[in-house]
Amino acid sequence: MAVVSVRGELDLSTRELLLRVLTDALRGDVVDRVEIDLAELEFMDACGVSAFLSFRGQAEAEGKTIALRQATGLPLRVLAMTGVLGVLGAKADDATGQGHAG
């Protein structure tokens, strides 16, 4: 499993960079799961949701899985409002940072 930590603001201008890093992390036979740590992500809009869903589709096509963890504040509310917490593997516990030491 690989873990990618995301920091700062995720929007139209940063989504391509994020997707490149995530795609790199997924590469190779040894990695079957990528977890994305959002503890230090300060802002994200629908572009971020779209990036995570694209990446999910990409991983799924290779028989791999992804999950978000430690989302908090505004990013957590955006994920909840767009109804994607479940499909992005961010359970309520993970999302509030209470569980899943990873």
Binding site: S13, F43, A46, A51, G57, L74, M81
Partner: protein
Amino acid sequence: MPAELACQRLDEDGLAVLRVVGSLTLATAPHLRTSALKCLADQPDAVVVDATRLSVPDDIHLTVLIAAARHAAAWPGVPLIVCAPPPPLASALARLGVDRYIEIVRDFSEARAHVKARELAPHIRAKFAATAGAVAGARRLVVDACTGWRLDHLTSSARLVMSELVTNAVVHAGTPMDVDVHRRGRYLHIAVRDFDPHPARLVGPKSETAPGGRGLLLVDTIATAWGCTPTVDGKVTWASFTSRISRFG
């Protein structure tokens, strides 16, 4: 021009004054609408409808004024003012709640005072090119505005909605844009004007896992109100937030 209604334009001091004489009916309403929109297209400080000699036999035709006011509100800065309506018309405007959309004044000096007060209201405008960097730039603008106007409880909502509106302008319109943030009473308004006529529509994602279609869904969830209004050369997508209720953050 229908004979029963004449619209004459007499501008003064940056105000577009539309003197409307005659009877507003089903047949004459389109003429008033067209004349009002022509005035708005010039972006004066205000459009003042001089209603001294206007009669409206049937309340229903007053909706033309509401429609014109909505159009005017799309790009903040051009209020529609009805000046000196005769008493029967004034009561009809109140009855229909038209005064929620349109400022109704007794005379021209009151109209000018209203425009002046409006100019003094907190207001920020900026232009951005259609680049990905515009999104963060516009976000900073609205965050600074909320801080300066002590609307901290609206910062999260306004910041996110601004992000979505500007992203749409960059991605879908692909034209330069004007961003407007202003406070009026207990409302914060944000508006993004672009130069592409295709309206913003709330479609929603195609499926639970489809990547697109969630931007306007967020706007619709978070803003107190939002909309998209055509302008002569494109459109304005706007959102407003009441400063009493925060639905996000």
